[in-house]
Symmetry: C2
Subunit: 218 residues, 2 copies
């Protein structure tokens, strides 16, 4: 639970910056379902995930959604501090998909440190570069993978995350993850069922042939 352990560059910082951090960071429990960040107006600060799961997603004008990436234990959430960077001119939403514990570095403290410390400024660069890599992967998926591959990939990932074959998720929720319409998801899931890959019931998708699903994903 020690902050120093969760902030990878902590030991490289000089003593005064370490104590500035230690005297201002705080732990927060975020219950599952909480909407953490809606736009740049709520600028929480830098979040360090102790445990849990955050979903970072984008919303279209007419209410569609797409998951940009997810954050797990020991991941760092930069976009909850996006107001620091004036060139970030897009809105991401962040919500807790599970009960999540985070360390929060308040925004003014992080801003002060970024302007003072090359270690922190370059570390921020590295986090942004990681997220950039996630986003470029997403573009490749959207453009050059067919929808059956993306859906298969999503079901496999979800099954791994939850460590089970029965997924309690609606077609609409899947559509929100993949940036498409509910009907498109329903049609493809029915095709998957006909092919024996899944079994569908109300609010439930059971993976019945993970091997075939994996083959689709190649």
């Amino acid at each position: 639970m020690c902050f120093a352990e969760y902030f990878p560059i902590f030991s490289r910082l000089p003593a005064d910056e370490q104590s500035l951090l230690l005297s201002h960071v705080f732990l927060q429990k975020i219950p599952k379902g909480t909407q953490l960040h809606r736009d740049e107006k709520d600028c929480l600060g830098l979040l360090l995930v102790l445990s849990g799961q955050l979903r970072v997603f984008m919303t279209s004008q007419n209410g569609r959604e797409i998951t940009i990436y997810r954050l797990y234990d020991r991941d760092i959430c930069l976009f909850s501090a996006s107001c620091i960077m004036k060139n970030i001119q897009f809105d991401l939403n962040i919500s807790a998909e599970r009960d999540t514990d985070v360390w929060i570095i308040p925004i003014n403290i992080y801003k002060t440190l970024m302007q003072k410390s090359t270690i922190i400024a370059n570390y921020t660069n590295e986090i942004m570069a990681s997220r950039f890599t996630d986003v470029m992967w997403l573009i490749e998926q959207i453009l050059w993978k067919s929808f059956d591959q993306r859906l298969a990939n999503f079901l496999i990932e979800e099954s791994n995350l939850q460590s089970k074959n029965q997924l309690h998720i609606t077609h609409e929720q899947i559509a929100f993850h993949l940036g498409t319409a509910r009907e498109v998801v329903t049609r493809m899931l029915k095709y998957f069922q006909d092919e024996g890959l899944v079994r569908l019931a109300r609010g439930l998708i059971e993976i019945t042939d993970i091997k075939k699903l994996n083959e689709l994903n190649k």
Copy 2:
């Protein structure tokens, strides 16, 4: 032509960093059609565009392309220096669409300065945040705009860039910009022609009704 004028943070740097830069930057002429950067192995350095036009694009395994963004006068190209940042794990290609003049800050000089100067490290952050914004815009376009809107937008932009209504561009080149297949472009252009928006000839697309094209783009 003065470097100091093209590097926005120059005046904020201390004298020793200014002279390090001035003694190492150099001007380079890049002829139209040059492939500047293919993957992280060619790590040129930071480019400051004096004049011209660079295209930053991604390539799929089976040879498709999509334009991620373009750089014009006074823009700064960060991904030609991507080897500095270990967390950038994707390959972008950069090519010159026109004869282009650039200032180049060699990679080792930029790296040294990033580790030493919070001004340069934070400036790098700002450039990356700008490109991130471009990429998020692209995702929105791909996901939530229909292909006729994207094609109309591309033709309008291209016509503005070249300041003329007659565009010398092949359907394949357009497909490379928009990340799709040539046939898809040809089909939509024929539809545009039937609707009186464009006139098609060999290697040429003439915009005949810019107003209608603009309406499509809304």
